[in-house]
Amino acid sequence: MNINLPIYLDYQSTTPIDPRVIEAITKSMIEDYGNPHSRTHKFGWIAEEKVEIARQQIANLINANSKEIFFTSGATESNNIAIKGVANFYKNSGKNHIITVATEHKCVINSARDLEQEGFKTTFLPVKKNGLIDLNQLESAINDQTCLVSIMAINNEIGVIQPLKEIGQLCRKKGVFFHSDCAQAFGKIPLDVEDLNLDLISISGHKIYGPKGIGAIYIRRKPRVRIKSLFSGGGQERGIRSGTVPTNLAVGLGLASEIAKNEMQKDLDHVKKLSNKFYQEVCKLSHIYLNGCEINRYPGNLNLSFAGIEGESMIMAIKDLAVSSGSACTSASLEPSYVLHSLGVDEELSHTSIRFGFGRFTTESEIDYAIDLIKQKVNRLREMSPLWEMMQEGIDIKSINWKSH
């Protein structure tokens, strides 16, 4: 069977657009060029109708009301709106504390850091060795000043799923809002905002085989969550997010959501099958470590440490595979991942980690190719690794007095 190289195994950074979505967007670009906020003519009305259908499709996927969905440019913007918007609205009522986690995406961490500059108090919860938060620690971190808890659903680097239901119950009991960055989870695993007591969630289009440049935020109406919008404008999206909604992109995100809802089980089964095969085969090489909890995880994300092999040289050796060492936003830097660091992964092992991402369009023959290539290259790189040689000789790498630069 013919395989196109390189093979795309970076589904956490982005996903290819589903051909059905492309078709819908193209059609919409031709037909719905009116401004969806124009009230005076048919072009506007048609565009508005398309946007409202998309809004409903998104709402359906998370058991929300379409009036609770607001279009944004993507999950980064949604996270900013959720965190800064809630914090700034409720600060006048004496609430000035927000809680998040050390392994969140940079846009969540930096939104919290920005708020610190403005005088807010923040708590960055640590995670356990498996990447999950400790619920007792969360409970004791919540105080009378806390207005928001922001904890992601699926981690982008290591794929672990935080205990959303327990977090939601705790937040509801304590009377604080619960926001979740669901960029990696929306459309991939079931998310029910009622069942999970989610008050705000961030959604991305391009992680679910939809277009880049669009996302959404869910904001609960009952009990109502108020936010202060980030920027001024014409008051579109009920004043939550001014600016013309890009009709074609909204149509794409809507359809991508509908497909994700209808095919979620099929997608999950597919990804699980490929991921299990890949993991089992690659583990036949010795000293391969899975980063993050083995049980509570999304199977389409495998973050593996290859002892004795530095990640960048591994990526170079397997360049027929498009993979990443950590998240794309930081993969140009020489620092090992802050997420793995938070898990307490040994520094030398965190330099050896590679993230493999599988998705709807990954094929079994691609996985077979990847397995063969990895087996072959791991052996070569270990043969040239002084650390691997020491491990084989039974020398404890930690016992050596290394001179750090």
Partner: protein, 134 residues
């Protein structure tokens, strides 16, 4: 990050990968870098009675540029007298491989590996200079 053609070539070159017996009298071993920093280089040189490096082997844990830098110096030191090898600088390595600024530390490490290997040889053979003068 895209690598230069030369980095790719040296990275893919298997000629000088390997190890010598550490305790052999004529072998000098340099082990530099640190696992926590993501780079460890081991360079070994085999020196004859005339002070000429007759063979060199390396093993490296590090990025493509680090592997290429050590592969290059293993090639370069061969046939050189240890005093000549001592003068190899990181600039020469960086230039040869067209390393970008973020990868300069790889060439620094490679230079250190050569110096450390020579130092180890000299420590093991304290009469080296003396024997040469005879």
């Amino acid at each position: 990050m895209a690598y230069s053609k030369k980095v790719e070539d040296y990275y893919n070159n298997n000629d000088n990968i390997g190890s010598f017996q550490k305790d052999e009298q004529g072998v000098g071993t340099g082990l530099v870098g640190a696992p926590a920093c993501g780079d460890v280089m081991k360079l070994q040189i085999k020196v004859n009675d005339d002070g000429i490096i007759t063979d060199a082997k390396f093993k490296t844990f590090g990025c493509g540029s680090a592997i290429a830098s050590s592969s290059l110096i293993a090639q370069w030191v061969k046939g050189k007298d240890i005093n000549q090898a001592q003068t190899i600088t990181n600039q020469q390595i960086a230039e040869e491989l067209s390393l970008p600024p973020v990868k300069i530390h790889c060439s620094v490490l490679a230079e250190e590996a050569v110096k450390a290997a020579i130092q180890d040889y000299k420590t093991k053979n304290p009469n080296y200079d003396h024997s040469k003068n005879q």
